[in-house]
Amino acid sequence: MALNAVVNNPEQAGTTREQELIARVQRGHNELFYELIRPYERRVYAAALAILRNETDAEDVAQEAVLKAFAHIRQFRAEARFSTWLIQITVNEALMRRRRERTVMMEGIDERRAEESGYAPRDFADWREIPSEALERKEVRQKLADALATLDRKYREVFVLRDMEQLNIQETAEALGISVASVKTRLLRARLMLRELLAAGWERGWFSRLPFEKGNKPW
């Protein structure tokens, strides 16, 4: 039963396989390193692109990051997730590139003032939780991506870097060349706007076939 549970859970099985690969690469089987990072190629590139916003630089930095991970693989400790470690290396590389090229543009005072004006949510209905299991469905992921795509670029960028690529607030500010205060304000708006878009999505039936969580009432 326990064995089946592991075999039937691809995520668990993948993790076990990944741990095996890491251990073997750390023992000197360098030829397995590409197999180890291949599932994350897209994430690494996406993280670099989100920061650099230039495809050529993003590829260059993504590759440099992987080479750096390769050079330091023996320092990786199993307490961390390999993907998090790899993405963090990529983010550091991308931020270093930005600093080196001095391409950071700080926002103007007017823009910062505009950020500070208030934002009020429009929908106060009881929130009906969308469980993470719903992401197993391609159409749900696509709807969420579509909702994100409707945000203004300045909100979307902050949200992608902080909530998807997992940069911290300071790193996000540095990556975008804006103040920490602006990151916080844009992040707040992005999160609340997405909440409203998903709430509207419920009404349009995006998630209508999802099982209801006990205690979460539809509005």
Partner: protein, 215 residues
């Protein structure tokens, strides 16, 4: 400092993102908790924002962003990794390293014209013609001097591009200079496995191709 009385809905909305980040001081956090317990609207906003973060932070969502990895990214990356490994004196034998010769063998077996048309394919052609030939080493042969063809022929072979622009040498010299026998005129000296095989290799004869194209 935030006045206890000032923690109203508006302040709760303004600070909700910082609250989720764990970026509010303990006193404000305690007052916000109190507010969320009392105000179901703000509790709904909080739950929704928390749900948004949980959903979008899932790694599967990264794949839904319309970001395409540039073509050849993986190949270029693997090549750099292999170079790095070699420079550091460690081993590297990736799947693509043996995929290349396997693919080449598949091309040979299939007799694909694409493989035959590659300009750097003499080893391939030679591999079928050279080992099994009975061409007398001293036999006089000719090679074309006005094309890049690496074939040698019997004088008068109809597949020579321009019979007036040829150089004469022995078969031994021609082979030493990297020439391979023309499969048409040298056929009787070659132990080619079958007509089919000869035809496949012959497809790579650029002069013959030009002739059959009416040039």
């Amino acid at each position: 400092m935030v006045d206890r009385e000032a923690v109203n809905c508006e302040l709760a909305w303004r600070e909700i993102s910082n609250y989720l980040e764990g970026d509010v001081d303990p006193a404000l956090r305690a007052r916000m908790d109190e507010h969320f317990r009392a105000c179901k609207h703000c509790a709904s906003v909080l739950e929704g924002a928390r749900n948004v973060i949980a959903l979008y932070s899932d790694e599967r969502m990264i794949d839904e962003l319309a970001i395409e990895v540039p073509a050849g990214f993986g190949r270029r990356l693997e090549r750099r990794l292999a170079q790095t490994a070699r420079l550091s004196g460690t081993r590297w034998s990736s799947w693509s390293a043996w995929l290349v010769p396997v693919a080449a063998l598949a091309l040979i077996a299939g007799g694909l014209r694409l493989a035959n048309s590659l300009s750097d394919s003499p080893p391939f052609k030679f591999s079928q013609a050279q080992p099994g030939h009975d061409i007398p080493p001293g036999m006089v042969v000719v090679v074309s001097t006005d094309t890049d063809s690496k074939l040698f022929h019997v004088a008068g072979c109809p597949f020579i591009h321009d019979k007036n622009k040829v150089r004469t040498l022995t078969a031994k010299q021609a082979i030493e200079q990297g020439y391979t026998p023309c499969l048409r005129c040298m056929r009787k000296y070659l132990n080619v496995a079958s007509d089919h095989g000869a035809e496949l290799v012959g497809d790579g004869d650029s002069e013959a191709e030009e002739l059959s194209a009416g040039r």
